[in-house]
């Protein structure tokens, strides 16, 4: 359980836009152990997808650039790999499920072929064998194999996402990155797709990064959680501890904005303010303009990582002993 599969160090990704340089991901550190599922949680624009694309080395360039950092995967720095080498990793050792199943499949190719081509590419199978495997994969995700010759528009959203899962798992990857795989689906379908992913993950023994903004999904699926805010990770922990003892004021705020069934709460306490403009990030701690506990120093100094418990790290100056935690 303890062997590290993925280790991201000091990752920095920028986008050149008309409004200026956007720091999409900055100073990001993240580790994932073999067999684990990590939930990457944050608001829209926090840099979750960019982080995933950086791992895949699919950050659209231009306008995006991975400026610095290291991404260690199975003992190799992916950022040092040539494009051709990276192609043998993509879809094979690391694969990805995308957010919108309605647009993520090629409309003019059959779903069977879209699974086959990955298999053929990475496993050096004949087209007959690949076709067989594609059909098996379809069956595995709950689609009748007879539908391999159908086109994406002939499937519903939930079915298409199953196809997406089949494509991603077809080469038995050691890491699966799922980017909000259920966000675009109906609530009832969401549960089915999540169940499927959970089942297959344990069947295949795949490690997974699940990107989401839904803490409910995290509680159900993930072993560990990383909370992202404005391009960086602010808190990492195992799931249970994060839910019982959130430490970072932002994480606490996130929980404060979910209604709880157990406690009688008269009103929710949402986080005040909005996400900062990514072209003009605040100095110091990115969260300080919205933080109820912010002190002067928070705007002057970037917080460092503080381990508060075994496997529970927080980027906040309260835990560096520089700021006093206020009780509300």
């Amino acid at each position: 359980m303890s062997e590290t599969l993925l280790d991201i160090r000091d990752l920095r990704v920028t986008y050149q836009t008309e409004e200026g340089l956007v720091l999409a991901v900055d100073n990001l550190n993240l580790t994932l152990k073999k067999g684990e599922t990590l939930g990457l949680v944050g608001e829209t624009g926090a840099g979750k997808t960019t982080t995933a694309l950086a791992v895949m080395q699919l950050v659209p360039n231009p306008p995006g650039t991975v400026e610095s950092g290291e991404i260690w995967f199975n003992g190799e720095n992916l950022l040092k790999k040539k494009n051709e080498e990276m192609r043998t990793v993509r879809g094979n050792q690391i694969s990805m499920i995308f957010q919108d199943p309605m647009t993520s499949l090629n409309p003019v190719l059959t779903v069977g072929f879209q699974i086959e081509e990955a298999v053929m590419l990475h496993q050096k199978l004949t087209s007959k064998q690949a076709e067989r495997q594609a059909r098996d994969m379809l069956k595995l995700v709950g689609i009748p194999e007879g539908r391999a010759g159908d086109y994406p528009h002939e499937f519903s959203g939930g079915m298409r996402q199953r196809v997406g899962i089949a494509i991603a798992l077809s080469c038995n990857p050691s890491l699966l990155i799922a980017d909000e795989p259920t966000t675009a689906l109906d609530v009832t379908i969401q549960a089915q797709v999540l169940d499927l992913m959970r089942r297959l993950r344990s069947e295949f023994g795949t490690s997974m990064i699940l990107i989401t903004h839904d803490l409910g999904v995290v509680a159900e699926v993930c072993d560990t959680v990383a909370i992202m805010y404005a391009g960086t990770v602010v808190e990492t922990s195992d799931t249970r501890r994060l839910f019982t003892e959130p430490r970072h004021p932002y994480t606490q705020g996130l929980f404060g904005s979910i209604p709880s069934l157990d406690e009688e709460v008269t009103r929710l306490s949402p986080i005040t303010g909005i996400m900062p403009d990514p072209t003009e990030l605040p100095s110091g701690c990115r969260f300080h303009p919205r933080c109820p506990m912010a002190a002067e120093i928070c705007s002057q100094r970037t917080p460092t990582m503080v381990p508060v418990e075994e496997g529970h790290n927080v980027h906040c100056m309260i835990y560096e002993g520089l700021v006093e935690a206020k009780k509300e």
Binding site: M56, L58, E84, M86, R87, T88, V89, R90, G91, N92, S95, M96, F98, D100, T103, S104, L105, N106, P107, V108, L109, Q114, E117, A118, L121, H122, Y151, H153, E154, G164, I167
Partner: protein
């Protein structure tokens, strides 16, 4: 699929009926008396009147239109007012030359436009891209009749590479085909580029890359087929443009096609031939568009599915 083709074929009938109506109406209200044109200005009034009656020119408008449609359906477009031979025969004799020219033009346009457009899109903002985009813009801005004349000047008069006019050999075809096809080539280049740029931004291209496919496969297998869908439509429309352009190009190169026949006919006020020519070219254009629509359904399974 058959249902789809059949439906499109049936749609052709009202459209061609409408085209006939429009063309007939324009020519009907044209000042000038066909009988007089046939017999010459100095013919005695009685003779002219007799011919008018014989030709049914004194009948009401709708009766004449009905007769025109009825005859056209049998392949009879009336008699040329100058040669007195059946207009359909004259047009039909010239038709292969026009078709040849238009097809050569489309070929030039497609063979130049699509590859250049793809390379431009995959190397956006590169030197090649900038250069070909400026060239394409010049291509769409150049009047093709001027381009034809300039090509005659350069390649026939100065360099003596190609004959300045005439018909029959491949050497005769090159300059007219380039003249008529350049603007379409430019349009298709621009269209291919923008269509490719639009397609490579789509999520499914990212999915394809995430599978580890090489860039070549991503472009050729995943992007191109999607990008082709709007391009095919443009090629069909360009064919119509080329049929219109044939009138000008054929004039410059003395190409013995329908277009030149029509220009001569206009000069001689031979309205039967003009009318028949417009009809023939419009019918050709409609049939080409029909073929394009069918091709379209083969490329895009979403359309095929509607008519399964």
């Amino acid at each position: 699929m058959h249902k789809y083709i059949l439906r499109r074929l049936l749609l052709l009938i009202p459209v061609m009926f409408g085209v006939s109506f429009v063309v007939f109406t324009i020519m009907f209200f044209t000042p000038g008396d066909p009988a007089k044109i046939l017999l010459g200005e100095r013919a005695p009034e009685a003779e002219v009147q007799a011919l008018r009656t014989q030709m049914g020119l004194d009948d009401p408008y709708l009766v004449q239109f009905g007769r025109f449609i009825f005859n056209a359906l049998r392949g009879d477009l009336g008699r040329s007012l100058t040669t007195r031979r059946p207009a359909a025969q004259e047009l039909w004799a010239r038709f292969p030359a026009t078709l040849q020219l238009a097809a050569a033009g489309v070929l030039v346009a497609v063979l130049m436009g699509i590859p250049i457009g793809i390379i431009s899109a995959t190397k956006q903002y590169s030197l090649f891209d900038g250069f070909s985009m400026v060239l394409a813009l010049i291509g769409v801005s150049m009047p093709n009749f001027w381009q034809g004349i300039m090509m005659v000047l350069l390649f026939s008069i100065v360099l003596r590479w190609f004959p300045s006019s005439g018909y029959g050999t491949f050497r005769h075809l090159i300059m007219p085909a380039l003249t008529i096809g350049t603007s379409s080539a430019a349009t298709i280049t621009r269209m291919t580029r923008s269509s490719m740029l639009e397609v490579v931004r789509q999520d499914y291209i990212r999915t394809a890359r995430a599978k580890g496919l090489s860039e070549r496969v991503v472009i050729n297998r995943h992007a191109l087929k999607n990008a082709l869908i709007p391009i095919v439509t443009v090629i069909g429309l360009q064919f119509g443009y080329l049929l219109g352009g044939a009138v000008l190009t054929e004039t410059i190169f003395s190409w013995p096609g329908v277009g030149r026949l029509m220009v001569d006919a206009i000069r001689q006020r031979d309205y039967t031939v003009v009318q028949g020519g417009v009809l023939l070219l419009a019918l050709t254009f409609s049939i080409v568009n029909l073929l394009v629509d069918i091709l379209y359904a083969y490329i895009d399974p979403r359309i095929k599915a509607q008519y399964k």
